[in-house]
């Protein structure tokens, strides 16, 4: 009964979004207010039905209703409640349900927080979102129905993939999807602007907070995914450049470019066409990511390959959404027009550089990800592209980007004097060079190649930090009053920029130190053996068979972590066997700290009669900074969102004049 209610709710939602995607758009084109006014109501009511459907799915999982195919294949009587809840979005059908639910949520949010927008714009934006939702709901109902029944009803379910039975993996998809789907708002604003022919600074101001919010979610989503890979896969790696990870990085790169480009459009009224294109691309890449992951084009899974209709359906949907919006772009963008000029040395040009570099970076990652597909399609053989390619092309692009990152916030809009810029940048440059060269030597590296790599990494980080300090000092220099008072008077969006850029620096430090100083040992250990790595000693105490988990049994190792002959703490890595899949899973034990991690994971038992195991131990200095950096970037985004001018916009219906004060970075005059 409950699954049928869910199914019915989905069908009703489909009808509603169909209305949302047609009448308001037609109304906006013909100027019929009654049709336009349908947009808000349909967006809100369709969200209610989507939420109801999701609730039904959740309920089916909670009570383990194995007559639902989706539940039978992804749950089990031994699966604990919290993972039963997470299982509801762990399957293909469930994740599409989650996708659509979030799309509904964003539409609903737009309908609520758009009171100050002209009715026509709201109608177009929600209309476009309605069309996208229609496509995805059709996909779900026709090829991936989460409520499909299974007869005869099995007594036991197949259980959730053990890899997904983890808090990180339970949180990763919802946040990532919030980010992916969030770009649909920027996309809808862009398409609405192309349809309406109105694209100005006000438009940029409306779509900016939505874009920033989506970007924040995406950043956190990617961060959780990377963190999960780090502790769950037992290899100590945090980024593998595999197609699924790249699929999330692509929209992030373009989203980052979009945030910066929107700033220029809002402040200076330029970059309009470019901004619209980025907005279309950011969402297109989100859809593409979903297609790549879900269709099995790159990573085929048997269960999925059985239904090529799904892949075809998404592809047709992609062609309509992306192709359609790009056709619209090609024909309508010329009307939008260009405005404003700027000199070679100006903030505009450094942000343009940012945009181009991020787009190129995105292109290279896309190329590397799809390269195997290209070759296979051309019958040139099967290959795979690994980290060496990505590192070789990605790092140099990022190095140039970081160089610009130091200059951009310093430069003035429109035109900046090269001499003044040189003057402002000389101290940061000097400090950066000295520190970047001295630090590797102080840390005891002499081999030139490792010194060069460390110097590059540290140089990038110090360049960002020193220029940020210079920017803050310069800002305060012009103001009157006490130091803290002056700090407080800076707008939140300014601090947002500082925090996000600082996050990049912290991230780079993390990557540099981990790459340069990580140490690992792969050893066979019998109880009583010790192994030393990075100044720490791991002593293998022994192993015990336990049945700790509700749906797995584990071999639990005990290790003493020793530093300077003193016991720091015990570590308990596990090797788990999940009953349902018979699949061994490694649970690493990590002693995590601000300055780095000590990491131990169990390999295989060695049958030598002494109870030996193969053991992997790592010392990962500063690895935590990688995620700390991502969190700072997100925090920067949140600060930008909390900027006063958005709240003023919320309260006052009136359209405020463009002030140009409180922006991304700064000293606009």
């Amino acid at each position: 009964m409950i699954p049928e209610i869910g199914q019915f709710a989905l069908i009703l939602a489909l009808v509603l979004v169909l209305v949302q995607g047609t009448l308001p758009l037609a109304g906006a084109a013909r100027g019929i207010p009654a049709w336009m006014s349908l947009a808000r109501r349909t967006a809100q009511s369709s969200f209610l039905f989507l939420a109801l459907a999701f609730g039904c799915l959740l309920y089916s999982f909670i009570i383990n209703d194995f007559s639902v195919l989706n539940v039978a294949t992804n749950s089990n009587t031994h699966l604990p409640l919290h993972y039963r809840i997470a299982a509801s979005w762990g399957s293909h059908e469930g994740s599409i349900m989650m996708w659509v639910l979030m799309l509904g949520m964003w539409s609903c949010a737009v309908s609520i927080f758009s009171r100050h927008l002209p009715e026509e714009v709201v109608a177009r934006v929600l209309g476009v979102m309605g069309l996208v939702t229609t496509g995805l709901l059709l996909f779900m109902l026709l090829t991936s129905n989460p409520f499909e029944r299974l007869f005869p009803v099995p007594l036991e379910g197949r259980d959730l993939n053990p890899l997904l039975q983890d808090p990180g993996m339970a949180l990763h998809p919802p946040t990532l999807y919030m980010g992916y789907v969030g770009f649909s708002v920027a996309f809808a604003f862009a398409v609405a602007a192309l349809l309406g022919g109105r694209l100005d600074a006000t438009w940029a101001r409306w779509s900016r907070p939505w874009t920033t919010l989506a970007w924040c979610f995406l950043t956190v989503g990617i961060m959780i995914g990377s963190w999960w890979a780090y502790y769950e896969l037992g290899w100590g790696g945090w980024w593998f450049w595999d197609p699924v990870e790249n699929a999330s990085l692509l929209p992030w790169l373009i989203g980052t470019a979009l945030i910066h480009s929107l700033a220029v459009t809002e402040k200076r009224g330029t970059f309009k066409i470019w901004t619209v294109l980025l907005a279309i691309c950011a969402f297109s890449l989100s859809l593409l990511g979903t297609f790549l992951v879900r269709s099995g084009v790159l990573t085929s899974v048997h269960a999925f390959a059985t239904d090529p209709r799904r892949g075809m359906f998404i592809l047709v949907f992609l062609a309509l959404v992306i192709g359609g919006s790009l056709v619209l772009f090609a024909f309508r963008a010329p009307r939008v027009g260009t405005a404003g000029t700027f000199k070679i040395v100006s903030r505009e040009s450094s942000l343009l550089g940012n945009n181009i570099l991020l787009t190129v970076a995105c292109g290279t990652v896309l190329l590397g990800t799809l390269y195997p597909l290209f070759l296979d399609a051309l019958n040139l053989g099967k290959i795979s592209v690994g980290p060496p390619y990505f590192e070789a092309v990605f790092v140099p692009i990022m190095a140039v980007l970081v160089a610009l990152m130091g200059i951009g916030p310093m430069a003035r809009w429109k035109e900046s004097s090269p001499r003044e810029l040189r003057h402002k940048l000389r101290w940061p440059l000097l400090i950066t060079i000295v520190c970047a060269l001295a630090l590797p030597l102080v840390l005891g590296r002499t081999e030139w190649k490792s010194v060069a790599l460390l110097a590059l990494g540290f140089g990038m980080a110090f360049w960002i930090i020193t220029t940020l300090v210079a920017v803050v000092l310069e800002r305060l220099h012009h103001l009157q009053g006490g130091f803290t008072d002056k700090l407080r008077r800076q707008p939140r969006s300014f601090w947002g920029m500082i925090l996000a850029h600082l996050g990049v620096a912290v991230f780079i430090i993390g990557v540099t130190v981990v790459k340069g100083f990580e140490a690992e040992r792969d050893v066979r250990m019998a109880p009583g053996d010790t192994v030393s790595v990075g100044g720490y000693t791991f002593k293998f105490v022994g192993i015990a068979e336990t049945q700790e988990g509700p749906n797995y049994s584990a071999s639990r190792g005990t290790f003493d972590l020793i530093k300077d002959d003193k016991l720091v703490r015990n570590l308990y890595p596990e090797k788990r066997i999940y009953f349902s899949h018979g699949m061994p899973m490694t649970e690493a034990a990590i002693d995590s700290g601000f300055l780095g991690d000590r990491y131990v994971s169990l390999g295989e038992e060695i049958n030598d009669g002494k109870g030996s195991w193969s053991v992997r131990v790592y010392h990962k200095p500063f690895v935590t900074w990688i995620w700390l950096g991502c969190m700072l970037m997100t925090l920067g985004g949140i600060f930008a969102l909390l900027d006063r001018r958005y709240r003023i916009n919320m309260r006052k219906e009136a359209k405020l004049p463009l002030t140009g004060e409180n922006d991304l970075s700064g000293s606009a005059r």
């Binding site: 294949t73 197949r158 066409i273 294109l277 279309i280 691309c281 297109s284 297609f291 269709s295 099995g296 084009v297 790159l298 990573t299 085929s300 048997h302 269960a303 390959a305 059985t306 090529p308 892949g311 075809m312 592809l315 992609l318 062609a319 992306i322 192709g323 790009l326 056709v327 772009f329 090609a330 963008a333 010329p334 799809l370 195997p372 597909l373 290209f374 296979d376 399609a377 099967k382 018979g582």
Partner: protein, 178 residues
């Protein structure tokens, strides 16, 4: 004019990408040609599902073309494949041998009783040793052997009616005529 052409570039890039995706959809990126193809089927000596004491080896198939289909009662994809085999066993026209893989004997017997048995007989690989020799990485998988016991074709994933008609049956005919 030049500007208008520039604005068409994103669309063109997407069209090219979409073209590759259309082609890519039909291919399986994990379908790496099995190293077994062209080599004799690995040696085995396994009991049948119906009779624990009856042992079958690869020598029992000398001189005939045969199909080895890896299945298990716990395998959901096998359920979609199974009716295709049941309905087309005659059309296939050579012995189909089931390899009951990492399964409980009683579960396997019950499963065949419920969904039908297209196999001449099934052999049991309870611990998956033979599966390792075959390089099985997912169930179902199907191997086609010629009269000399050489592996000629491997199908990964469920056999569909399309793949049966387009690939497997023509190959069987070809091998039978040799």
């Amino acid at each position: 004019m030049k500007r208008k052409l520039l604005l068409l570039i994103p669309l063109l890039v997407f069209v090219v990408l979409a073209g590759f995706f259309v082609v890519g959809l039909d291919r399986n990126p994990r379908e790496i040609p099995s190293p077994l193809i062209g080599k004799p089927v690995p040696k085995f000596s396994l009991p049948t599902l119906s009779d624990e004491n009856k042992i079958i080896t690869e020598k029992d198939f000398a001189g005939q073309v045969w199909l080895l289909n890896v299945w298990a009662s716990w395998c959901v994809s096998c359920r979609t494949e199974h009716p295709v085999l049941v309905e087309n066993a005659e059309l296939i026209g050579v012995p189909i041998i089931g390899l009951n893989y990492k399964d409980k004997r009683s579960d396997g017997v019950a499963w065949l009783a419920r969904y039908g048995d297209p196999y001449s007989f099934s052999i049991v690989d309870a611990d998956g040793r033979f599966g390792i020799d075959l390089g099985v990485y997912g169930v179902p998988e199907t191997f086609l052997m010629d009269k000399q016991g050489v592996v000629r074709y491997k199908h990964t994933g469920p056999i569909t009616i399309e793949s049966l008609r387009a690939v497997i049956i023509p190959k069987i005919k070809e091998l039978k005529e040799q």
